[in-house]
């Protein structure tokens, strides 16, 4: 993305945003559902990208945080509380749990965070399934209402899609600002060279926990949208495989690239839909495509683009060098 001139980038951005607003207007219910799902999963993946791509911490619990957000929304809105209250609860809960979870793991070595989060992911699933009094267990919570936003009901698919898209927009802007702030720089410093970051006076452990907690909180945000989107939640969608799926989205999109999660979520949510005509084979084809992509470009889809840009720059530079050299030789 960085290789394009500024006006082209802005034009491209406007076209994509306008497209996301206008094109779905005549989509059917199912198409809108899939697109809303894409927006929700993108929010969760942006959170994970912050943790993994920018701060370099592997989390296998993002799906569990989506689950916590979804249950917060499901439980509170069926009691008649507004969704915005559930959003606040989900953010605080996920942030706090993320912080506490990272604490013991980072006391030892940072790849233990992956193991602890893996365990947490399954523990959260067990709580969702077994604590009937709170989560209604395997029967799930049904008839979750969709919210009114500034007096506009979002019961129909299109307004709700706009709510998801708007939330994605707000989250994107906030994260964009965050990674350009000193905090974001500190996150990248953690990933690139923790020892150097430490020697520059960055409290690496606090920033690592912070990156993990903020990423988890965004998982909670995605969850609070997920519950009113499906209007029914049960424990099954929030098991370990959702966490693994989200991790895959971040990696195939391109970890550490701002737009990576957008692309990754698009591949993970939409590609299986497009491949549905192949019937039982679609997940197999999806898995094969992911493996081939990772073999070809381990830094994901945006990694390919990045590489092409870099090659073009090198070619331009060497062409300029050749011209300069011939001029030098031609000169007496």
């Amino acid at each position: 993305m960085t290789g394009l001139p500024r006006y082209l980038r802005i034009a491209l951005g406007i076209i994509v945003i306008a497209g996301l607003i206008i094109v779905p207007m005549n989509f059917n219910r199912y198409g809108l559902f899939i697109l809303s799902q894409w927006a929700v999963m993108t929010i969760a993946a942006i959170g994970l990208n912050l943790t993994l791509g920018y701060a370099g911490q592997v989390s296998l619990a993002q799906g569990a945080f989506v689950g916590i957000g979804a249950y917060a929304a499901g439980i509170m809105t069926s009691q008649g509380l507004p969704l915005i209250a559930a959003l606040g609860v989900a953010i605080i809960l996920c942030f706090a749990i993320g912080w506490l979870l990272g604490y013991p793991a980072l006391r030892v070595q940072h790849h233990y965070l992956a193991f602890v989060t893996l365990a947490f992911s399954t523990l959260a699933f067990l709580v969702f399934r077994n604590e009937d009094w709170l989560t209604k267990g395997i029967y799930g919570i049904s008839n979750i209402p969709r919210p009114n936003v500034f007096g506009f009901p979002t019961n129909r698919p299109l307004p709700f899609y706009y709510l998801c898209l708007g939330s994605l927009g707000i989250v994107s802007v906030m994260v964009w600002w965050l990674i350009r702030s000193p905090w974001g720089r500190a996150f990248v410093a953690l990933r690139e060279n923790p020892i150097r970051a430490l020697s520059l006076g960055i409290d690496t452990r606090r920033y690592t926990l912070m990156a993990f907690a903020i990423g988890s909180a965004l998982g909670g945000v995605a969850g609070t949208l997920y519950a009113p989107l499906t209007q029914y939640i049960d424990p099954v969608p929030f098991n370990l495989s959702l966490s693994l799926d989200l991790l895959m989205m971040v990696i195939i999109g391109g970890a550490g690239f701002f737009f990576g999660p957008f692309l990754g979520a698009m591949i993970a949510v939409l590609l299986p839909e497009w491949l549905r005509f192949t019937q039982g084979y679609y997940l197999m084809l999806y898995a094969t495509a992911v493996i081939l992509l990772l073999i070809y470009s381990p830094s994901g889809l945006l990694g390919i683009l990045d590489r092409l840009m870099a090659e073009r720059r090198t070619r331009t530079a060497s062409a300029l060098r050749a011209v300069a050299k011939s001029r030098l030789e031609a000169a007496p």
Binding site: F115, T122, N130, M248, A287
Partner: protein, 291 residues
């Protein structure tokens, strides 16, 4: 008391299977930094290969042999050449993600080409009970335990008593130094992949008669093996064995004495406690801290 004894035997039997799977897991990690998230699916697949061979008319013993050979070909050689080799130089994470995708692929392929339903699988140990100290013990548990112990003893003997085993350990501990003193490191790495393939095929043979052959059965198994490997010690074969046995026993006791709903939580809590107080695992060597 008799109840406890039964639980211990059953726990040790499943634990021994977890141990076999966990040993393969740590071997791959040690020799080639592969965190194989598809290890559970690797255990699920050979049972279906054997079932397919039997459907094609092969007798049980031949089907087992075909299953093990195909497993070596697909999950050993194929896995290494097609997935690990091209990805290894890119680091641990992309490879780990690729194995997650592989897990989805294997599961879906089995669902599509075999069946989405659970299929029964013949046991190599006859059913029935045997009396030990006047106490009936299921032959199946005992047989599984014996075979698993034999496999573990065989593997440890291979690693510690033979020249090839020493070369494999050298290749795992310090590939550069091993290469200098003439160890064919590449061949040794391939060998660990083949050993892993045999181990998962064996685990498949032992566990499938108990839990039936189902495309999704790898998920639980893979996670158990993963936890066993971390609890026991990620960088030690004997650690993985101890971890496997411990998880098997704890799992069974938790189901009986704590709660069936939260039985899966107990090994996870054990995992978190271990990471807190002894992160290198029960028998593992501490890894050097980078910071």
């Amino acid at each position: 008391m008799s109840n406890l004894f039964d639980l211990l035997v059953a726990g040790l039997a499943t634990g021994a299977i977890y141990a076999i799977v966990a040993v393969g897991f740590t071997l791959l990690w040690q020799t080639s930094q592969t965190i194989n998230f598809a290890q559970g699916e690797f255990v699920m697949l050979p049972a279906f290969l054997m079932l397919a061979a039997m459907q094609a008319g092969a007798p049980f013993w031949l089907a087992i042999l075909i299953g093990i050979l195909l497993s070596m070909l697909l999950l050993g050689l194929g896995f290494k050449l097609l997935l690990v080799d091209p990805m290894l130089r890119h680091g641990v994470l992309p490879l780990a993600i690729a194995t997650m995708a592989l897990a989805i692929g294997i599961k879906e392929a089995v669902k599509q080409f075999f069946s989405a339903e659970a299929s029964p699988f013949p046991s190599i140990v006859p059913a029935g009970d045997i009396s030990i100290f006047g106490h009936p013990v299921s032959l199946q548990s005992l047989g599984v335990l014996t075979l698993a112990i034999l496999a573990v003893i065989g593997l440890t003997a291979l690693l510690n008593r033979t020249s090839i085993g020493h070369q494999m350990q050298a290749a795992a501990q310090n590939p550069t130094a091993a290469r200098i003193i003439g160890v064919p490191v590449e061949r040794m790495i391939l060998l660990t992949f083949l050993i892993n393939a045999v181990l998962v095929a064996l685990a498949s043979l032992l566990i499938t008669p108990i839990y039936l052959a189902k495309f999704s059965s790898g998920e639980v198994l893979g996670q158990a093996a993963f936890i066993a490997a971390i609890v026991g010690g990620f960088n030690q074969v004997r650690g993985a064995i101890a971890g496997g046995l411990l998880i098997g026993v704890v799992d069974n006791l938790a189901a009986a004495y704590v709660s069936t709903q939260y039985r899966a939580a107990i090994p996870l809590l054990l995992l978190i406690v271990i990471i807190l107080f002894r992160p290198q695992g029960i028998l593992g060597r501490p890894e050097e801290r980078t910071v």
